[in-house]
Protein backbone atom coordinates (compact mmCIF):
# COMPACT_ATOMS: atom_id res chain seq x y z
CA UNK A 1 0.00 0.00 0.00
CA UNK A 2 2.83 2.38 0.83
CA UNK A 3 4.84 1.64 -2.29
CA UNK A 4 2.10 2.48 -4.72
CA UNK A 5 1.71 6.22 -4.08
CA UNK A 6 5.48 6.57 -4.33
CA UNK A 7 5.50 5.14 -7.85
CA UNK A 8 2.62 7.40 -8.74
CA UNK A 9 4.44 10.43 -7.37
CA UNK A 10 7.59 9.54 -9.27
CA UNK A 11 5.60 9.09 -12.45
CA UNK A 12 3.82 12.36 -11.83
CA UNK A 13 7.16 14.11 -11.32
CA UNK A 14 8.47 12.52 -14.50
CA UNK A 15 5.38 13.72 -16.37
CA UNK A 16 5.74 17.23 -15.00
CA UNK A 17 9.45 17.37 -15.87
CA UNK A 18 8.84 16.16 -19.41
CA UNK A 19 5.99 18.62 -19.79
CA UNK A 20 8.19 21.47 -18.57
CA UNK A 21 10.84 20.45 -21.10
CA UNK A 22 8.19 20.30 -23.82
CA UNK A 23 6.88 23.75 -22.93
CA UNK A 24 10.38 25.16 -22.94
CA UNK A 25 11.03 23.63 -26.36
CA UNK A 26 7.70 24.68 -27.80
CA UNK A 27 7.70 28.28 -26.65
CA UNK A 28 11.36 29.21 -26.25
CA UNK A 29 13.56 26.86 -28.20
CA UNK A 30 11.94 25.89 -31.46
CA UNK A 31 12.06 28.64 -34.12
CA UNK A 32 8.84 30.21 -35.29
CA UNK A 33 7.49 28.64 -38.43
CA UNK A 34 7.83 31.01 -41.34
CA UNK A 35 4.46 30.54 -43.01
CA UNK A 36 2.02 30.41 -40.16
CA UNK A 37 3.89 32.24 -37.45
CA UNK A 38 3.36 31.48 -33.81
CA UNK A 39 0.03 29.74 -34.34
CA UNK A 40 1.97 26.84 -35.81
CA UNK A 41 3.10 26.04 -32.26
CA UNK A 42 -0.35 24.50 -31.88
CA UNK A 43 1.14 21.59 -33.80
CA UNK A 44 3.05 20.54 -30.70
CA UNK A 45 -0.21 20.09 -28.79
CA UNK A 46 -2.50 18.96 -31.54
CA UNK A 47 -0.41 16.16 -33.01
CA UNK A 48 0.68 14.53 -29.71
CA UNK A 49 -2.91 14.62 -28.44
CA UNK A 50 -4.10 12.98 -31.67
CA UNK A 51 -1.39 10.38 -31.34
CA UNK A 52 -2.38 9.47 -27.79
CA UNK A 53 -6.03 9.23 -28.82
CA UNK A 54 -4.94 6.59 -31.35
CA UNK A 55 -2.87 4.84 -28.68
CA UNK A 56 -6.05 4.73 -26.59
CA UNK A 57 -7.89 2.88 -29.39
CA UNK A 58 -5.13 0.29 -29.58
CA UNK A 59 -5.24 -0.03 -25.80
CA UNK A 60 -9.01 -0.59 -25.86
CA UNK A 61 -8.68 -3.18 -28.62
CA UNK A 62 -5.95 -5.12 -26.83
CA UNK A 63 -7.71 -4.96 -23.47
CA UNK A 64 -11.05 -6.02 -25.01
CA UNK A 65 -9.54 -9.06 -26.73
CA UNK A 66 -7.70 -9.96 -23.55
CA UNK A 67 -10.90 -9.63 -21.56
CA UNK A 68 -12.88 -11.87 -23.91
CA UNK A 69 -10.07 -14.43 -23.72
CA UNK A 70 -9.37 -14.42 -19.98
CA UNK A 71 -12.49 -12.84 -18.42
CA UNK A 72 -10.15 -11.14 -16.00
CA UNK A 73 -11.69 -7.90 -14.69
CA UNK A 74 -8.41 -6.06 -14.84
CA UNK A 75 -8.61 -5.98 -18.64
CA UNK A 76 -12.05 -4.49 -18.44
CA UNK A 77 -10.74 -1.79 -16.12
CA UNK A 78 -7.94 -1.10 -18.56
CA UNK A 79 -10.42 -0.80 -21.42
CA UNK A 80 -12.57 1.67 -19.47
CA UNK A 81 -9.53 3.72 -18.51
CA UNK A 82 -8.41 3.73 -22.14
CA UNK A 83 -11.85 4.64 -23.46
CA UNK A 84 -12.50 7.48 -21.06
CA UNK A 85 -9.03 8.97 -21.39
CA UNK A 86 -9.19 8.40 -25.13
CA UNK A 87 -12.48 10.29 -25.40
CA UNK A 88 -10.96 13.21 -23.47
CA UNK A 89 -7.88 13.25 -25.71
CA UNK A 90 -10.00 12.92 -28.84
CA UNK A 91 -12.16 15.85 -27.74
CA UNK A 92 -9.02 17.93 -27.14
CA UNK A 93 -7.69 16.89 -30.53
CA UNK A 94 -10.89 18.07 -32.19
CA UNK A 95 -11.02 21.36 -30.30
CA UNK A 96 -7.35 22.21 -30.86
CA UNK A 97 -7.73 21.21 -34.50
CA UNK A 98 -10.68 23.55 -34.94
CA UNK A 99 -9.07 26.46 -33.13
CA UNK A 100 -5.96 25.99 -35.22
CA UNK A 101 -7.91 25.69 -38.47
CA UNK A 102 -9.84 28.92 -37.97
CA UNK A 103 -6.94 31.43 -38.26
CA UNK A 104 -4.95 29.31 -40.71
CA UNK A 105 -7.62 28.08 -43.09
CA UNK A 106 -10.37 30.53 -42.31
CA UNK A 107 -12.85 27.86 -41.28
CA UNK A 108 -13.50 26.02 -38.02
CA UNK A 109 -14.08 22.67 -39.63
CA UNK A 110 -12.47 21.08 -42.65
CA UNK A 111 -13.01 17.63 -44.07
CA UNK A 112 -9.45 16.75 -43.14
CA UNK A 113 -9.20 12.97 -42.90
CA UNK A 114 -7.65 12.70 -39.45
CA UNK A 115 -10.12 15.17 -37.97
CA UNK A 116 -13.07 13.36 -39.55
CA UNK A 117 -11.80 10.01 -38.33
CA UNK A 118 -11.29 11.32 -34.82
CA UNK A 119 -14.76 12.83 -34.78
CA UNK A 120 -16.41 9.53 -35.72
CA UNK A 121 -14.27 7.57 -33.27
CA UNK A 122 -15.17 10.11 -30.61
CA UNK A 123 -18.84 9.31 -31.22
CA UNK A 124 -18.25 5.55 -31.15
CA UNK A 125 -16.42 5.67 -27.83
CA UNK A 126 -18.90 8.11 -26.31
CA UNK A 127 -21.52 5.51 -27.21
CA UNK A 128 -19.30 2.87 -25.60
CA UNK A 129 -19.19 4.86 -22.37
CA UNK A 130 -22.92 5.56 -22.52
CA UNK A 131 -23.59 1.87 -22.96
CA UNK A 132 -21.55 1.18 -19.85
CA UNK A 133 -23.50 3.81 -17.98
CA UNK A 134 -26.87 2.35 -19.03
CA UNK A 135 -26.03 -1.27 -18.31
CA UNK A 136 -26.06 -2.75 -14.81
CA UNK A 137 -22.56 -3.75 -13.63
CA UNK A 138 -21.49 -7.34 -13.97
CA UNK A 139 -19.98 -9.87 -16.32
CA UNK A 140 -22.46 -9.16 -19.09
CA UNK A 141 -21.64 -5.47 -19.17
CA UNK A 142 -17.92 -6.16 -19.31
CA UNK A 143 -18.39 -8.66 -22.12
CA UNK A 144 -20.74 -6.57 -24.26
CA UNK A 145 -18.59 -3.46 -23.72
CA UNK A 146 -15.54 -5.40 -24.91
CA UNK A 147 -17.44 -6.31 -28.09
CA UNK A 148 -18.37 -2.67 -28.75
CA UNK A 149 -14.83 -1.52 -28.03
CA UNK A 150 -13.47 -4.09 -30.42
CA UNK A 151 -15.88 -3.28 -33.25
CA UNK A 152 -14.92 0.40 -32.91
CA UNK A 153 -11.24 -0.49 -33.13
CA UNK A 154 -11.81 -2.69 -36.18
CA UNK A 155 -13.71 0.18 -37.77
CA UNK A 156 -10.87 2.68 -37.23
CA UNK A 157 -8.75 1.91 -40.32
CA UNK A 158 -11.87 1.64 -42.49
CA UNK A 159 -13.10 5.03 -41.29
CA UNK A 160 -9.67 6.53 -41.93
CA UNK A 161 -9.51 5.13 -45.45
CA UNK A 162 -13.03 6.40 -46.15
CA UNK A 163 -12.21 9.82 -44.72
CA UNK A 164 -9.13 10.05 -46.94
CA UNK A 165 -11.17 9.21 -50.03
CA UNK A 166 -13.73 11.76 -48.95
CA UNK A 167 -11.13 14.47 -48.39
CA UNK A 168 -9.78 13.86 -51.89
CA UNK A 169 -13.27 14.13 -53.36
CA UNK A 170 -14.10 17.36 -51.50
CA UNK A 171 -10.91 19.44 -51.29
CA UNK A 172 -12.57 22.83 -51.36
CA UNK A 173 -13.16 23.31 -47.65
CA UNK A 174 -9.75 24.88 -47.10
CA UNK A 175 -9.48 28.59 -47.93
CA UNK A 176 -7.31 31.48 -46.92
CA UNK A 177 -3.66 32.41 -47.25
CA UNK A 178 -2.18 29.54 -45.25
CA UNK A 179 -4.08 26.79 -46.98
CA UNK A 180 -1.01 24.67 -47.49
CA UNK A 181 0.10 22.98 -44.35
CA UNK A 182 3.07 21.06 -45.63
CA UNK A 183 5.56 22.59 -43.25
CA UNK A 184 8.52 20.29 -42.82
CA UNK A 185 8.86 18.36 -39.60
CA UNK A 186 12.57 17.79 -39.49
CA UNK A 187 15.23 19.59 -37.57
CA UNK A 188 14.11 21.47 -34.46
CA UNK A 189 10.45 21.11 -35.39
CA UNK A 190 10.72 17.32 -35.58
CA UNK A 191 12.68 17.09 -32.35
CA UNK A 192 10.19 19.27 -30.49
CA UNK A 193 7.33 17.24 -31.88
CA UNK A 194 9.03 14.04 -30.77
CA UNK A 195 9.61 15.30 -27.24
CA UNK A 196 6.06 16.64 -27.05
CA UNK A 197 4.66 13.30 -28.24
CA UNK A 198 6.65 11.43 -25.62
CA UNK A 199 5.53 13.89 -22.95
CA UNK A 200 1.87 13.54 -23.89
CA UNK A 201 2.18 9.75 -24.03
CA UNK A 202 3.61 9.80 -20.52
CA UNK A 203 0.79 12.09 -19.46
CA UNK A 204 -1.70 9.70 -21.06
CA UNK A 205 -0.25 6.81 -19.09
CA UNK A 206 -0.55 8.87 -15.92
CA UNK A 207 -4.16 9.91 -16.55
CA UNK A 208 -5.21 6.42 -17.69
CA UNK A 209 -3.58 4.75 -14.70
CA UNK A 210 -5.36 7.14 -12.34
CA UNK A 211 -8.62 6.23 -14.06
CA UNK A 212 -7.71 2.56 -13.74
CA UNK A 213 -7.12 3.00 -10.04
CA UNK A 214 -10.49 4.72 -9.68
CA UNK A 215 -12.19 1.85 -11.48
CA UNK A 216 -10.47 -0.60 -9.14
CA UNK A 217 -11.68 1.36 -6.14
CA UNK A 218 -15.22 1.27 -7.51
CA UNK A 219 -14.99 -2.53 -7.80
CA UNK A 220 -13.55 -2.71 -4.30
CA UNK A 221 -16.47 -0.74 -2.88
CA UNK A 222 -18.88 -3.07 -4.66
CA UNK A 223 -17.13 -6.14 -3.29
CA UNK A 224 -17.11 -4.70 0.22
CA UNK A 225 -20.81 -3.88 0.06
CA UNK A 226 -21.44 -7.42 -1.11
CA UNK A 227 -19.36 -8.84 1.72
CA UNK A 228 -21.30 -6.75 4.22
CA UNK A 229 -24.67 -7.86 2.91
CA UNK A 230 -23.49 -11.47 2.92
CA UNK A 231 -22.26 -11.10 6.46
CA UNK A 232 -25.64 -9.79 7.50
CA UNK A 233 -27.31 -12.76 5.83
CA UNK A 234 -24.98 -15.22 7.48
CA UNK A 235 -25.73 -13.81 10.91
CA UNK A 236 -29.44 -14.16 10.20
CA UNK A 237 -29.18 -17.77 9.00
CA UNK A 238 -26.42 -19.33 11.07
CA UNK A 239 -28.78 -21.70 12.87
CA UNK A 240 -30.44 -22.83 9.62
CA UNK A 241 -27.25 -23.64 7.78
CA UNK A 242 -25.91 -25.88 10.56
CA UNK A 243 -29.22 -27.72 10.51
CA UNK A 244 -29.08 -28.25 6.79
CA UNK A 245 -25.65 -29.83 6.96
CA UNK A 246 -26.70 -32.29 9.63
CA UNK A 247 -29.92 -33.22 7.87
CA UNK A 248 -28.30 -33.97 4.52
CA UNK A 249 -27.78 -37.72 4.19
CA UNK A 250 -24.45 -38.52 2.60
CA UNK A 251 -25.06 -38.50 -1.12
CA UNK A 252 -28.40 -40.36 -1.13
CA UNK A 253 -28.94 -44.02 -2.04
Amino acid sequence: MAALPKIRLIWLGFTAALMALTLWMVFLWVPTEINQGNIQRALYFHVPVAWTAMVAIVLIAVASVAYLKTRDEKWDRLAVAGAETGVIFAALMLITGMVWAKPVWGVWWTGEAKLTTTLILFFIYVAYLMFRAYFPPGEQRRRLAAIIGLIGAIDTPIIYYGAQLWERAHPSAVVGPYSNNDSSVDGPVGLTLLVATIAFSVLFVYVASERYRLRKQEDEVMALRRAISLQALRVATTSDSTESISSAPAGGA
Binding site: I151, I154, L165
Partner: protein, 224 residues
Protein backbone atom coordinates in the same frame (compact mmCIF):
# COMPACT_ATOMS: atom_id res chain seq x y z
CA UNK B 1 -21.57 -26.59 -46.01
CA UNK B 2 -24.85 -27.37 -47.74
CA UNK B 3 -26.43 -28.24 -44.44
CA UNK B 4 -25.15 -24.98 -42.92
CA UNK B 5 -26.62 -22.97 -45.77
CA UNK B 6 -29.91 -24.79 -45.33
CA UNK B 7 -29.90 -23.90 -41.62
CA UNK B 8 -29.15 -20.25 -42.37
CA UNK B 9 -32.00 -20.20 -44.87
CA UNK B 10 -34.37 -21.92 -42.40
CA UNK B 11 -33.55 -19.20 -39.85
CA UNK B 12 -34.01 -16.39 -42.34
CA UNK B 13 -37.23 -17.90 -43.67
CA UNK B 14 -38.58 -18.05 -40.15
CA UNK B 15 -37.95 -14.28 -39.84
CA UNK B 16 -39.57 -13.69 -43.24
CA UNK B 17 -42.63 -15.69 -42.20
CA UNK B 18 -42.94 -13.70 -38.97
CA UNK B 19 -42.50 -10.47 -40.90
CA UNK B 20 -45.16 -11.54 -43.39
CA UNK B 21 -47.56 -11.98 -40.47
CA UNK B 22 -46.70 -8.83 -38.47
CA UNK B 23 -45.27 -6.52 -41.20
CA UNK B 24 -43.51 -4.64 -38.38
CA UNK B 25 -40.05 -4.21 -39.78
CA UNK B 26 -40.34 -3.48 -43.49
CA UNK B 27 -43.27 -1.17 -42.97
CA UNK B 28 -41.40 0.79 -40.30
CA UNK B 29 -38.34 1.18 -42.51
CA UNK B 30 -40.34 2.24 -45.57
CA UNK B 31 -42.61 4.72 -43.83
CA UNK B 32 -39.83 6.33 -41.82
CA UNK B 33 -37.47 6.60 -44.79
CA UNK B 34 -40.15 8.11 -47.00
CA UNK B 35 -41.01 10.55 -44.25
CA UNK B 36 -37.39 11.70 -44.00
CA UNK B 37 -37.19 12.08 -47.78
CA UNK B 38 -40.48 13.97 -47.92
CA UNK B 39 -39.41 16.33 -45.13
CA UNK B 40 -36.25 17.12 -47.05
CA UNK B 41 -38.22 18.01 -50.15
CA UNK B 42 -39.91 20.70 -48.06
CA UNK B 43 -36.81 21.71 -46.12
CA UNK B 44 -34.66 22.26 -49.20
CA UNK B 45 -35.81 24.15 -52.24
CA UNK B 46 -35.14 21.53 -54.88
CA UNK B 47 -33.74 23.04 -58.01
CA UNK B 48 -32.56 20.30 -60.39
CA UNK B 49 -28.88 20.90 -59.69
CA UNK B 50 -29.42 21.07 -55.95
CA UNK B 51 -31.42 17.86 -56.01
CA UNK B 52 -28.45 16.19 -57.69
CA UNK B 53 -26.09 17.61 -55.06
CA UNK B 54 -27.97 16.71 -51.90
CA UNK B 55 -30.20 13.88 -53.18
CA UNK B 56 -27.84 10.95 -52.64
CA UNK B 57 -27.01 12.20 -49.14
CA UNK B 58 -30.67 12.49 -48.22
CA UNK B 59 -31.44 9.07 -49.65
CA UNK B 60 -28.76 7.26 -47.69
CA UNK B 61 -29.27 9.19 -44.48
CA UNK B 62 -32.94 8.21 -44.71
CA UNK B 63 -32.12 4.55 -45.36
CA UNK B 64 -29.57 4.43 -42.51
CA UNK B 65 -31.86 6.10 -39.98
CA UNK B 66 -34.85 4.01 -41.01
CA UNK B 67 -32.72 0.86 -41.02
CA UNK B 68 -32.03 1.40 -37.33
CA UNK B 69 -35.74 1.15 -36.60
CA UNK B 70 -36.02 -2.17 -38.41
CA UNK B 71 -32.89 -3.57 -36.80
CA UNK B 72 -34.22 -2.65 -33.38
CA UNK B 73 -37.25 -4.83 -34.06
CA UNK B 74 -35.27 -7.79 -35.32
CA UNK B 75 -34.10 -8.81 -31.88
CA UNK B 76 -37.03 -7.36 -30.00
CA UNK B 77 -39.09 -10.05 -31.78
CA UNK B 78 -36.83 -12.72 -30.29
CA UNK B 79 -36.82 -11.16 -26.84
CA UNK B 80 -40.62 -11.01 -26.59
CA UNK B 81 -41.37 -14.72 -26.35
CA UNK B 82 -37.90 -15.57 -25.01
CA UNK B 83 -37.41 -17.34 -28.31
CA UNK B 84 -33.79 -16.24 -28.27
CA UNK B 85 -33.45 -18.81 -25.46
CA UNK B 86 -35.19 -21.31 -27.70
CA UNK B 87 -32.63 -20.64 -30.42
CA UNK B 88 -29.82 -20.91 -27.89
CA UNK B 89 -31.05 -24.34 -26.87
CA UNK B 90 -30.62 -25.66 -30.40
CA UNK B 91 -27.33 -27.29 -31.37
CA UNK B 92 -26.92 -24.82 -34.25
CA UNK B 93 -23.62 -22.93 -34.04
CA UNK B 94 -23.84 -19.27 -33.07
CA UNK B 95 -22.24 -18.12 -36.31
CA UNK B 96 -25.06 -19.73 -38.29
CA UNK B 97 -27.67 -18.09 -36.08
CA UNK B 98 -25.91 -14.79 -36.77
CA UNK B 99 -25.83 -15.36 -40.51
CA UNK B 100 -29.50 -16.34 -40.44
CA UNK B 101 -30.37 -13.06 -38.74
CA UNK B 102 -28.13 -11.08 -41.10
CA UNK B 103 -29.78 -12.69 -44.11
CA UNK B 104 -33.22 -11.87 -42.73
CA UNK B 105 -32.29 -8.24 -42.03
CA UNK B 106 -30.59 -7.92 -45.41
CA UNK B 107 -33.77 -9.07 -47.13
CA UNK B 108 -35.90 -6.65 -45.09
CA UNK B 109 -33.71 -3.63 -45.87
CA UNK B 110 -33.54 -4.63 -49.53
CA UNK B 111 -37.31 -5.02 -49.82
CA UNK B 112 -37.75 -1.64 -48.14
CA UNK B 113 -35.38 -0.10 -50.67
CA UNK B 114 -37.43 -1.53 -53.52
CA UNK B 115 -40.18 0.84 -52.37
CA UNK B 116 -37.98 3.72 -51.23
CA UNK B 117 -35.90 4.14 -54.40
CA UNK B 118 -38.71 4.73 -56.92
CA UNK B 119 -40.46 7.16 -54.58
CA UNK B 120 -37.20 8.98 -54.00
CA UNK B 121 -36.62 9.10 -57.75
CA UNK B 122 -40.02 10.66 -58.25
CA UNK B 123 -39.73 13.21 -55.44
CA UNK B 124 -36.19 14.34 -56.19
CA UNK B 125 -36.50 13.91 -59.91
CA UNK B 126 -33.11 12.26 -60.27
CA UNK B 127 -32.52 8.86 -61.72
CA UNK B 128 -31.21 6.35 -59.19
CA UNK B 129 -32.72 3.17 -60.59
CA UNK B 130 -29.67 1.93 -62.47
CA UNK B 131 -27.58 -1.21 -62.34
CA UNK B 132 -24.76 0.63 -60.57
CA UNK B 133 -26.98 1.99 -57.81
CA UNK B 134 -28.66 -1.36 -57.32
CA UNK B 135 -25.26 -2.99 -56.73
CA UNK B 136 -24.35 -0.17 -54.33
CA UNK B 137 -27.67 -0.61 -52.52
CA UNK B 138 -27.11 -4.34 -52.14
CA UNK B 139 -23.59 -3.81 -50.76
CA UNK B 140 -24.83 -1.13 -48.37
CA UNK B 141 -27.74 -3.29 -47.15
CA UNK B 142 -25.38 -6.18 -46.49
CA UNK B 143 -23.04 -4.00 -44.46
CA UNK B 144 -25.92 -2.41 -42.55
CA UNK B 145 -27.29 -5.89 -41.81
CA UNK B 146 -23.92 -7.22 -40.61
CA UNK B 147 -23.09 -4.36 -38.23
CA UNK B 148 -26.71 -3.75 -37.31
CA UNK B 149 -27.43 -7.36 -36.38
CA UNK B 150 -24.42 -7.51 -34.07
CA UNK B 151 -25.28 -4.21 -32.39
CA UNK B 152 -28.98 -5.05 -32.20
CA UNK B 153 -28.08 -8.22 -30.30
CA UNK B 154 -25.88 -6.17 -27.98
CA UNK B 155 -28.41 -3.43 -27.32
CA UNK B 156 -31.45 -5.70 -26.99
CA UNK B 157 -30.40 -6.28 -23.39
CA UNK B 158 -30.15 -2.59 -22.48
CA UNK B 159 -33.00 -0.71 -20.85
CA UNK B 160 -33.10 2.00 -23.50
CA UNK B 161 -32.24 -0.03 -26.57
CA UNK B 162 -34.06 2.35 -28.90
CA UNK B 163 -31.48 4.99 -27.97
CA UNK B 164 -28.49 2.72 -27.76
CA UNK B 165 -28.71 1.06 -31.17
CA UNK B 166 -28.49 4.23 -33.31
CA UNK B 167 -25.69 5.59 -31.13
CA UNK B 168 -23.66 2.47 -31.80
CA UNK B 169 -24.80 1.71 -35.33
CA UNK B 170 -24.63 5.10 -37.08
CA UNK B 171 -21.05 6.17 -36.33
CA UNK B 172 -19.77 2.68 -37.05
CA UNK B 173 -21.52 2.68 -40.44
CA UNK B 174 -20.14 6.08 -41.49
CA UNK B 175 -17.62 4.62 -43.98
CA UNK B 176 -20.38 2.60 -45.61
CA UNK B 177 -22.73 5.61 -45.75
CA UNK B 178 -19.91 7.70 -47.27
CA UNK B 179 -19.28 5.00 -49.87
CA UNK B 180 -22.96 4.72 -50.75
CA UNK B 181 -23.47 8.49 -50.99
CA UNK B 182 -20.35 9.13 -53.06
CA UNK B 183 -21.01 6.25 -55.46
CA UNK B 184 -24.64 7.26 -55.89
CA UNK B 185 -23.55 10.85 -56.54
CA UNK B 186 -21.14 9.63 -59.19
CA UNK B 187 -23.88 7.60 -60.86
CA UNK B 188 -26.34 10.50 -60.69
CA UNK B 189 -23.71 12.73 -62.33
CA UNK B 190 -23.51 10.27 -65.19
CA UNK B 191 -20.43 8.36 -64.05
CA UNK B 192 -19.94 4.63 -64.34
CA UNK B 193 -18.05 1.92 -62.46
CA UNK B 194 -14.59 3.38 -62.93
CA UNK B 195 -15.60 6.68 -61.32
CA UNK B 196 -16.33 5.21 -57.94
CA UNK B 197 -14.36 1.96 -57.92
CA UNK B 198 -12.50 3.04 -54.77
CA UNK B 199 -15.76 3.62 -52.95
CA UNK B 200 -17.02 0.24 -54.10
CA UNK B 201 -13.86 -1.35 -52.77
CA UNK B 202 -14.39 0.42 -49.47
CA UNK B 203 -17.96 -0.89 -49.27
CA UNK B 204 -16.87 -4.43 -50.11
CA UNK B 205 -14.05 -4.29 -47.56
CA UNK B 206 -16.47 -3.00 -44.91
CA UNK B 207 -18.95 -5.81 -45.66
CA UNK B 208 -16.35 -8.57 -45.59
CA UNK B 209 -14.57 -7.32 -42.47
CA UNK B 210 -17.73 -6.82 -40.45
CA UNK B 211 -19.37 -10.00 -41.64
CA UNK B 212 -16.42 -11.96 -40.28
CA UNK B 213 -15.77 -9.87 -37.17
CA UNK B 214 -19.43 -9.75 -36.12
CA UNK B 215 -19.88 -13.47 -36.70
CA UNK B 216 -16.89 -14.21 -34.48
CA UNK B 217 -18.01 -11.77 -31.78
CA UNK B 218 -21.66 -12.87 -31.89
CA UNK B 219 -21.09 -15.92 -29.69
CA UNK B 220 -19.86 -13.59 -26.95
CA UNK B 221 -22.94 -11.43 -27.32
CA UNK B 222 -25.34 -14.28 -26.73
CA UNK B 223 -23.70 -15.75 -23.66
CA UNK B 224 -25.41 -14.98 -20.42
Amino acid sequence: MGASLATVWTLARKDLLLELRSKDIVLAIVVFALLVIAIFTFAIELTPSRARDVGPGVLWAAVAFAGVLGLNRSFAVEAEGDTLDGLMLTPVSRELIFFGKVLGNFIFITIAQVVIFPVFEALFNISVLQVETIVIALLASLGFAAVGTAFAAVSVRVRSREIMLPLLFLPTSVPLIMAAVESTSAVVDGGSWGDFSEWLQLAIAFDVIFMIASAVLFQFVLEE
